[in-house]
């Protein structure tokens, strides 16, 4: 197990290196640099001075080594739109995205697995068909569109929840800790619910096909033959075996969830990674855009690693190896 984990960590490091190098190449293959913006009153001499000050006049190889070493030291550059180091901007945004994604991940797994069980248990009835259609509908929705519909429905027409942001911009600082937490949760409801509905549909589809693959196996027939009721068969024998592959989905769902979070954050003005990346695009803040890609990739790599480890811990057949 330890050796396997070490090998996976090594693999993750290689992947991270590939990502960092690709991002570096992207910056340098793109036309222009941070100082070639259009401003007629800045002379070429001043631009050259800036380039020298920030190391843009160095050979590409040297810049690459400097970039790698500073990235490894946690220095991802300076964000000119946020007026702070990229690291600080990310440190503020990342926990908010993780909160949103964590809540959505937990809820959507619970919802997706439960609905898959409903669909398989009541196969061939209106209940299964309805679940299937509704899930397909949500699976087909563009993330930002559902976010907008939720926003209009529950913040404008039926103003139950705040329209955006993470806390009340004025009153939050004056609230007691309990009220402050409630305020945060109230702001979390709509974005988390949107993201949950979107990814639950994907998890349901995956879990359903896993359940259908376990269902024709002999031990299921045995369980039925010895007189267990269908509910127990499903819960004890089918679900337990069909749940394992879904753990890997935990890692695989990460990129999709991250992409979804991006749009959901943009619509709900949730100040996380997606919102940061979107405003960085608007401001042409290259270091921040690229750092978001690197951090996003790190999250995916960690997600994959976690899924792999969890999978091995959850499956007794693999644990013994």
């Amino acid at each position: 197990m330890a050796r396997r984990l070490l090998a996976r960590l090594g693999q993750a490091a290689v992947v991270l290196w590939v990502v960092l190098s690709a991002v570096f190449l992207l910056i340098h293959a793109a036309p222009g640099d941070p100082f070639s913006f259009d401003a007629p009153n800045i002379s070429p001499a001043i631009r050259a001075q800036w380039r020298a000050a920030f190391g843009y006049d160095r050979p590409l190889g040297e810049q690459y080594v400097r970039y790698l070493s500073s990235a490894l030291h946690g220095d991802l550059g300076y964000s000119h739109s946020m007026h702070e180091p990229v690291r600080d901007a990310l440190a503020a945004a990342l926990p908010r995205t993780l909160l949103l994604m964590g809540v959505a991940l937990a809820l959507s797994f619970a919802l997706g697995v439960w609905l898959a069980l409903v669909e398989v248990r009541y196969a061939g009835t209106w209940r299964a068909r309805l679940t299937h259609r509704v899930a397909l509908f949500f699976y087909s929705l563009p993330d930002f569109w559902l976010a907008l519909v939720m926003l209009m429905a529950f913040a404008y027409w039926l103003p139950l929840f705040p329209a955006g942001g993470i806390v009340d911009p004025v009153l939050h600082d004056y609230m007691s800790p309990g009220r402050a937490l409630l305020d945060l949760l109230r702001h979390l409801v709509l974005p988390a619910l949107t993201l949950t509905l979107l990814s639950a549909a994907a998890i349901l589809r995956y879990q359903r096909s896993e359940l259908l693959e376990v269902l024709p196996m002999d031990f299921v027939r045995t369980a039925r033959a010895k007189g267990l009721d269908e509910h127990t068969v499903l819960r004890r024998h089918v679900l337990r075996n069909a749940l394992l592959p879904v753990i890997t989905l935990l890692g695989l769902a990460f990129p999709a969830l991250l992409g979804g979070a991006l749009f959901v954050e943009k619509v709900f003005a949730w100040p996380g990674m997606g919102y940061l990346a979107a405003s960085a695009i608007d401001a042409r803040d290259y270091p921040l855009v690229l750092a978001s890609v690197v951090v996003g990739s790190c999250m995916v790599i960690i997600g994959n690693l976690a899924a792999d480890v969890l999978y091995r811990l959850a499956d007794p057949r693999l644990r013994r190896q």
């Binding site: 590939v18 087909s140 990129p255 991250l258 995916v300």
Partner: protein, 307 residues
């Protein structure tokens, strides 16, 4: 409860097994096919069906953001353009982007997968590690970075970028299939007859790995429609005044409370397109993927069913 369990056993024995419906018999699949045919017709002749031009600003004072009416069944947007004309044209743009991008992905992914699976050995190992790395980059973030850096990207560049970031999953599936096929008897026989590797790969491996590609490609069209709409929504996809469904959305989102029709219409069309492609993809999976059929679970028959 001996009686009930006997009944249960009898029920179990006589119960109809889940059988794959042939393509086109399920009502949902038929509806999806019908929707796709209608959408295809709209994409080809749609812009000629309606007399307003999608980019014409009809009357910026009198017709700015007007509600649906007899003259403008889906209303007008904030530049007084006819929403129906834009939806008809946007369907063409979005579908064209998605289908072309998905064809790029399918071609690259299949080639890569067949090469890796057929070559095997260290080539396969290296190619697959590379896929692992590529799969860990969140596609949306990567596209955003590239599109923002090279802003503005022409339409063919957008298509190519979306296509070139979407083939990793296909390559992996094809590779697994090719690995299974290359040691089958017919491939060995072809080699024994002296066929060069490329010919064996082309004639004997490729046709046997195509069904996962067809399934994945059909499902990917829906994903790409949503992706393109999302990128356009962020302002880095298709460009104004070209009415892709996502561009229309971005354009109208600020007025979503007062002029909801301009947001609603492109959204509904996206949902219909994506649902149709997903339904069709699921139906194709049921029809083509032997793994999903009862009695063909992997542990029982490790050999893939002959195509």
């Amino acid at each position: 409860m001996p009686a009930t369990s006997l009944a249960a056993i009898r029920h179990e024995l006589t119960r109809p097994r889940r059988a794959a419906a042939p393509l086109g018999t399920a009502a949902g699949t038929r509806a999806a096919l019908a929707a796709l045919i209608v959408l295809g017709v709209i994409a080809i002749v749609g812009p000629y069906l309606w007399h307003y031009r999608p980019t014409a600003q009809l009357d910026i004072v009198a017709l700015k953001s007007t509600a649906p009416s007899w003259n403008h069944p889906l209303g007008t947007d904030r530049f007084s353009r006819d929403v129906l004309a834009r939806v008809l044209f946007g369907t063409r743009i979005s579908l064209a982007i998605a289908i072309l991008a998905v064809l790029v992905s399918a071609t690259v992914g299949t080639t890569y997968g067949v090469v890796a699976g057929y070559a095997g050995g260290w080539i396969d190992a290296v190619l697959m590690r590379l896929i692992d790395a590529l799969l860990s980059v969140p596609r949306v973030l990567l596209l955003i970075a590239v599109l923002a850096l090279w802003n503005p990207v022409p339409l063919w560049g957008l298509i190519l970028l979306i296509g070139l970031t979407g083939w990793f999953g296909v390559a992996r599936q094809v590779r697994a299939q090719a690995l299974a096929v290359r040691d089958r008897d017919f491939a060995t026989a072809a080699r024994a007859l002296g066929a060069p590797p490329w010919l064996v790969a082309w004639r004997h491996v490729l046709p046997n790995v195509l069904s996962p590609v067809i399934i994945a490609t059909t499902l990917a069209v829906g994903d790409v429609i949503v992706l393109e709409a999302g990128l356009s929504f962020l302002g880095i996809g298709a460009r104004e005044p070209m009415p892709s469904l996502g561009t229309m959305f971005q354009d109208a989102v600020a007025q979503s409370v007062t002029a909801w029709w301009a947001v609603f219409s492109p959204g509904i069309v996206i949902v219909v397109i994506v649902m149709a492609f997903n339904t069709l993809g699921d139906a194709l999976r049921d029809a083509l993927d032997p793994r999903q059929l009862p009695g063909h679970a992997m542990h029982e028959h490790p050999e893939p069913v002959d195509a």
